[in-house]
């Protein structure tokens, strides 16, 4: 039961992070720049455990698309070692840097691509989590050029649209 609840929360969190990045592409120049530098056709897969939710995204040069299942293996695949760890990661109990330090995931692909993803996720988390939480999980709290409320609103709209 507990595992099932964790899976539901992690699945929602994955979609929320994606929706936040899509929103931030329009709102935050740092995120927009990071995405612009991403090679067209770049694909990421994030697996959160055995029989647990996954997220597949592709950068088509304009948008970060959530795709149901990639035709080929993603260029960068992050495999978290257990759902319990993914739950901690996606509920603000552990940052990506600490996940790396704690050997929480394996990576197939180039490390440079994970660094890019880490910067994007850190940025999204800095907006999504309250500062008291962000300070604990991020190496440093960045200056945010947009109000959190605007980001929440846009993210929520994107999240709900993707659920329909």
């Amino acid at each position: 039961m507990r595992r099932r609840l964790q899976a539901v929360i992690v699945a929602a969190a994955l979609r929320l992070v994606h929706a936040a990045l899509v929103a931030l592409q329009r709102l935050d120049p740092e995120v927009a720049g990071e995405l612009r530098r991403m090679p067209v056709g770049m694909t990421y897969a994030i697996h959160t455990g055995h029989n647990a939710p996954s997220l597949f995204v592709e950068w088509d040069g304009q948008r970060l698309l959530r795709i149901p299942h990639p035709e080929q293996a993603a260029l960068c695949t992050l495999r978290l070692k257990a759902l319990a760890i993914s739950f901690r990661l996606f509920t603000g109990q552990m940052g990506l840097a600490h996940a790396y330090a704690q050997h929480a995931f394996t990576l197939s692909g180039e490390i440079a691509d994970v660094m890019r993803l880490a910067r994007l996720v850190n940025r999204a988390e800095a907006y999504l989590f309250p500062p008291i939480l962000s300070r604990r999980i991020l190496p440093e709290l960045p200056e945010l050029p947009v109000s959190r409320l605007r980001v929440y609103a846009r993210t929520l709209i994107g999240f709900l649209q993707s659920s329909c």
């Binding site: 990506l96 790396y100 330090a101 995931f105 197939s108 490390i111 440079a112 880490a118 190496p139």
Partner: protein
């Protein structure tokens, strides 16, 4: 402080001290190997260092089946793939790598290619994603005291096409046996001794202070820093001092074990980029960058730097330093030591002395922020922050 979770692994058997080289054939027999491929570089071949290893192996009945010496200073993906091809063509069943970081890391890369039955190392790049694969007996004889690669689960290999240094991380990269014999470093020139020693010092400091630091790796760091601060100047100024040489080799190995289990940080991230883009020798890049990065990290790492001060300057001096000044004092002690190495051996202290031009800095900064070592640095670093730091070091 104990992290919420950590891992530690080191399965390398260490042969250290007198006649260590002569024990290689016996180790190969225990590993059920008869036809080793000897890997080295042209300089070591010319200096007769390789002949020393070949002769001892032959004398004890385990001559190399083939020798590959075409490994450049900065190894590359294509060299790795070529070594694997030579191994297959020569019917080898094991590897003995004699050299510095480039030779050892090339050998590690080739071993990965062979044990995973592929032709291209890029096909298996990643972090901790590899299965163990087929076991290929692997012995390493370091000829510098710096990289610690003889005991690490990391291989750093240059991607010529992209102009970056790639890291391959897996516990299955670790060699079976590492051989520390003072005879192998006695002829290392003063400048290379200083630069590789700076690399070892940097491994120990970054491994002890980065986000992945853990109690076991820290213990190795403290011991390594103590040995380095007590021996590096002696090894540089009196190259034939076998005791100082072996102490430096041991320190480098311990620092290697440490960072293999807790990673490094921004000095290495930027240093890899300087190597990939501007071809600055790795150890020299470490020496140039260390004071600047340590100062940048000081606000987040003062406490952990302070804990290292006694190893660096001795307990009496450390105790005489006010507690709140010890982090800063560590940074100053490192800066002073590098100044001494500059005076005795001529290692550069500025990027311009290493031939780096202002117009290369932007590319170095952009490359550095994509290096895996940056993720565990105590402070985050943006492209602009790396660029500012590089300008300060120019």
């Amino acid at each position: 402080m104990k992290p919420a979770y950590f891992e530690f692994q080191n399965a390398v058997k260490l042969l250290c001290g007198q006649n260590a080289l002569e024990r290689i054939p016996d180790e190969l027999r225990h590993l059920e190997a008869e036809r080793p491929l000897l890997l080295t570089d042209a300089v070591l071949l010319r200096l007769g260092m390789v002949a020393m290893v070949q002769d001892t192996m032959r004398a004890e009945g385990c001559a190399p089946a083939a020798t590959f010496s075409d490994i450049p200073v900065d190894s590359s993906l294509s060299v790795v793939n070529r070594i694997a091809a030579v191994y297959r063509e020569s019917g080898c069943d094991s590897m003995v790598a004699v050299g510095g970081g480039s030779v050892i890391d090339s050998a590690k890369g080739a071993r990965l290619v062979l044990s995973h039955d592929t032709d291209d190392i890029l096909a298996i790049s990643g972090i901790e994603n590899l299965r163990c694969g087929r076991h290929i007996p692997f012995i390493v004889v370091p000829t510098t005291a710096g990289t610690g690669s003889e005991c690490t689960g990391v291989a750093v290999i240059r991607n010529e096409e992209q102009g970056i240094k790639m890291e391959f991380l897996s516990p299955f990269v670790e060699p079976d046996v590492a051989v520390l014999d003072a005879r192998m470093t006695l002829r290392l020139p003063a400048r290379a001794t200083a630069a590789t020693g700076a690399d070892a010092l940097c491994h120990a400091i970054e491994a002890a202070t980065c986000l992945q630091s853990n109690p076991l790796s820290s213990a190795y760091c403290h011991a390594a820093i103590q040995l380095i601060s007590a021996n590096i100047i002696r090894a540089v100024q009196h190259g034939s001092d076998a005791d100082a040489r072996l102490n430096m080799a041991l320190a480098a190995t311990m620092a290697g074990i440490a960072f293999s289990n807790s990673m490094v940080g921004a000095v290495h991230a930027i240093g890899h980029a300087l190597g990939g883009v501007c071809h600055v020798p790795h150890g020299e890049a470490m020496g140039i960058l260390m004071p600047h990065v340590l100062r940048y990290n000081l606000p987040a790492a003062a406490e952990s730097y302070a804990r290292l001060l006694p190893e660096m300057v001795g307990w009496e001096k450390a105790a005489a330093t006010p507690a709140q000044m010890r982090g800063e004092a560590l940074v100053q002690a490192v800066t002073d030591l590098l100044g001494q190495l500059h005076a005795s051996a001529g290692i550069p202290l500025r990027l311009s002395e290493a031939g780096v031009a202002e117009q290369q800095l932007a590319r170095v900064a952009e490359t550095a922020v994509n290096d895996g070592a940056l993720i565990v640095n105590p402070r985050a670093m943006s492209v602009q922050q790396v660029l500012d730091l590089l300008r300060g070091a120019l």
